[in-house]
Symmetry: C2
Subunit: 313 residues, 2 copies
């Protein structure tokens, strides 16, 4: 066994991503010690109970003391306050990173609060489930998933390389890109699809002529996948939309333009237009399977569904 990459990793915020990192770092011997802090006393109690961290602290300031890596795993809107709190307590030579879904806003929120001699390497693992909280993590969450690093002027090559090794050690593939480009890419592949899914689920909820029980009973044919997306953490997603506003509004504008063209084709009965469009989108699906980002298994069928209700989310 080689030496751990970090002597002490402090996880600030103990939800899905932090708890998965704790399991993954332990499973792969990447951190000698893991400390943690969560704002909620209940979350801290659960983290202690299930042994998520070696030590759990009541404040972020205590949790980061002596840590050579600090990982901010709080919603994007909470980053500035946490950074301000921990700034004075960071060890010289430490590296601060985050796991936020938006990068420009995090850089603006965190950067100014970090002292000289502390590196800052923003990161975003493209992994998650629709579950949240300290019990939702699992060591394999990042395996074969991407983690995007968006280094800034506060990143050193050494700190960036060590963080890359951490993510690779947890099974992720790592890419580096500019923070602004990251935010645009994510607006396309994640943020706008989430908003659309939330909207469609909301429409179904409001409709009077179709009951919610009908929507739920017959959800298998498309809607179900929207509800899975729309079950993600509300606080995290509120912050994503508020902090990646420009890119999301840009992509939303394109989306509604495109939707109106299809809507018009339906109204005018333009079959060839619809058929051509649906044929092109099918090709993109093939590319995703070929890139190893999903399986070709017919997931719609989900033939192994339980006959009895599953445990709650």
């Amino acid at each position: 066994m080689t030496a751990p990459l970090y002597n002490r990793v402090a996880l600030i915020g103990l939800g899905l991503i932090a708890s998965s990192m704790a399991h993954a770092m332990r499973a792969n011997g990447l951190a000698a010690e893991i400390t943690g802090h969560a704002r909620s006393a209940e979350t801290r109690a659960v983290a202690l109970e299930i042994g998520l961290c070696d030590r759990v602290f009541d404040t972020a300031a205590e949790a980061v003391q002596g840590a050579d890596l600090v990982v901010l795993c709080v919603p994007v809107g909470a980053m500035a306050a946490v950074a301000e709190e921990i700034g004075p307590h960071l060890a010289p030579g430490a590296c601060v990173t985050d796991v936020g879904s938006v990068k420009q806003a995090v850089i603006e929120a965190v950067g100014p609060h970090l002292p000289e001699g502390v590196a800052f390497v923003p990161a975003h693992p493209l992994a998650g489930t629709e579950h949240s909280g300290p019990r939702s993590g699992f060591a394999e969450l990042f395996v074969n998933r991407w983690c995007l690093l968006t280094p800034t002027a506060q990143s050193t090559p050494e700190a960036t390389a060590r963080l890359r090794a951490l993510w690779e050690g947890m099974g992720a593939n790592v890419d580096e890109m500019d923070a602004a480009h990251h935010d645009l890419v994510l607006a396309v592949v994640s943020h706008t699809p989430h908003l659309i899914a939330y909207t469609m689920v909301g429409v179904a909820d409001h409709l009077r002529r179709v009951s919610n029980s009908e929507v739920i009973k017959y959800s298998a044919s498309g809607f179900r996948d929207f509800t899975r997306i729309a079950a993600s953490d509300p606080t995290m997603w509120r912050d994503v939309f508020l902090t990646n506003k420009d890119a999301v509004l840009d992509i939303l504008g394109r989306f509604t333009e495109e939707l109106f063209v299809l809507q018009r084709a339906i109204r005018m009965g333009d079959g060839p237009h619809l058929h051509d469009y649906f044929t092109r989108t099918r090709a993109i699906r093939r590319s995703i399977i070929e890139a190893g980002q999903d399986t070709a298994a017919p997931d719609f069928g989900r033939s192994a569904l339980p006959a009895k209700p599953a445990p709650k989310d």
Copy 2:
């Protein structure tokens, strides 16, 4: 073993649903003999090669002769022509059914072509995968899924009861409802979600500043589920939108209204509005899991993804 429900079942169209029905009827001893027809010679050859049907005919007219159940498994837009062709060849006392995703249009297309003494019981199994063709079927596709029957004046109680027993024998749960209500419910839970998914995938494809390879690489966080939906059969979906036009345009109108309200909340920075909305949609997801229509397993993670590209769709 009890006697089969039907002596001879004729499957017209040999795609995903028909091939799954063939496997399921055989696995459950529901039909003494299965005949089949597909328009494409290649599909007929595959059906023969894999033994999907006991006999495969070059014309639908031949395939339905002597059948006590005829199942129309062609796209909705092709139903009228098939019904016209088979009408004169149907056996007295036979039952005709279909598996179309739209019911009012199928009733209008098929009903007038059926002779006296032949029952017509429209049906719609809410099951499918993003795959298509005669090799894509599997016996368990309908297990624990809904099949909706929309009886008309041409349905007899006996024919409806026997068809219900067939679908239950293949593992489905069966409900009956009015065809117009069916079309509205499906516009909400299936048709509009599909159109939206197709649109979002199209937007990603058009965008110049984000490359398709980036979209494909980083698709895991939401977009991937849209592409799965958007990979469904283009001909089937063209016909769905052209034949369930009114209900789809109604739901699309509500969707864009709702989307504009959320878009405005983003633009105005209205965090509480977004948080409330996302909290309500999360509750709907819980209900779907409790209703047994999906598992609580964290499917987003898909931790067992292959490291190598999977076989093509």
